[in-house]
């Protein structure tokens, strides 16, 4: 090493005058770095970066699509639910109406039946009464005539007289029944 001599007389004192060896050395060194990055390494990483962007963008897109689908399904379910609820309400309404109608009909039928039964009963009663009255009339006539003939001691066998007398008696009887009660109580 002769560097201590160089301190006194520097090998070169013009810093802006290049040494061509170093210029070429530096140029080659840089070009090697550049070419390897350009041809080998950066294409690899830019490809991966692009793929990553794609993957992320694709993921977002997929998520978007899934969300839209989910929203669509939710909307559909909501619509179906709404329809079902509506149907149920309508059915309930209908059945209520139906029930009311059936009840009304039944009531009407029952009333008609009751009325009919009542009417039949009344007719029966009236008929029975009529029969009773007729039979009583005949019975009471016969009994009264028998009693009177026993009391009077003579036979009131004369058919015509007998019937006239009985009829008059019964008419009087009915007339006294038909009079106001005050008249009867005063008698």
């Amino acid at each position: 090493m002769h560097y201590h001599l160089a301190l006194v007389t520097p090998p070169q004192s013009e810093p802006l005058v290049p040494s061509w060896t170093e210029v070429i050395w530096g140029g080659i060194a840089f070009l090697i770095v550049f070419v390897v990055l350009w041809r080998v390494l950066l294409p690899r990483i830019t490809k991966v970066l692009a793929e990553r962007t794609d993957a992320i963008a694709g993921g977002i897109e997929r998520a978007d699509r899934a969300e839209k689908e989910a929203q669509r399904l939710a909307e559909q379910y909501r619509n179906q639910l709404e329809t079902a609820r509506h149907d149920a309400a309508r059915m309930r309404e209908e059945s209520k109406e139906e029930g009311a109608r059936i009840i009304a009909q039944m009531r009407e039928q029952a009333q008609a039946e009751a009325a009919r039964i009542m009417q039949t009963a009344q007719a029966q009663i009236a008929a029975d009464r009529q029969q009773a009255v007729a039979s009583l009339r005949a019975e009471v006539g016969t009994l009264a005539v028998e009693l009177a003939s026993k009391i009077v001691g003579e036979s009131l066998a004369d058919e015509a007289r007998q019937s006239r007398v009985v009829d008059r008696f019964l008419a009087e009887l009915e007339a006294s029944e038909g009079e106001p009660s005050g008249a009867r109580s005063s008698a």
Binding site: L7, E22, I32
Partner: protein
Amino acid sequence: MNHVVVAQAASGCDHVLHGCPYPSPSITDFYFSPLFTIGHFQFDKPMLLVLLSTLIVLGFFWAAFRKPQLVPRGIQNIGELGILFVRDQILRPQLGKKGDNWLPFLSALFFFIWINNIWGVIPILYFPATSRFEYPAILTAMVWVLYMGIGIWKQGPLGYLRTLSVPSGAPWWILPLLAPIDFLSNVFIRPFTLSVRLWANMLAGHVLLLVFALATWYLLTWSYELVFSAVSFVVLIGLTALELLIQLLQAFIFTILTAFYISGAYEPAH
């Protein structure tokens, strides 16, 4: 620092205690006797550092991007961080998305310059290769050829001459004055400033570090000078941090200006 010390040691003089004078740093600190010589080819320390930078940049990106994974891990993350920094902070602002095929060139430029700068604070090596003018000069020459070539190719010789000489929006009557200045500025001063900015920053930074590193060592005595030594050391640490910043910044500036010049070659500035 070490070569000065080595030089002094070789002459048997390494410290003020031995009556040696303080060896003030000078331009001679930027010249090295060759490590070995083959014929006319002399291999010196800056060339070794450039070689190491090349191997480090390539080695790093080889490790990071040899088999890149879709889901990055480890060193690939750091590599991507670096490449995306160049793309998003340097390339895209100047050239836009269509300039993405310039990414290899700008990445190579940025990392090559940065690593060559970083040697300025690495102990033992302690010399930024870019403080030798040859390296900024050859890089600038490439950039100049590129942007002049692209400009002539894309805009035609006359079109690019117009872009280089006529600033947009200038009134016609000032052009006789402005056009020569602009042409000179864009064609000759640009490459000069581009290379000298990087080189001078690194050179000045190295001299600064040398001043305080040498002061720390030469004032290290058992006397009141110990205080100066200690202060020098503290300043040295601070300046080292500053240098780290400047090394990154200069690589960034060189690359972003390159992107700007290339962008101007593609289409006239707006």
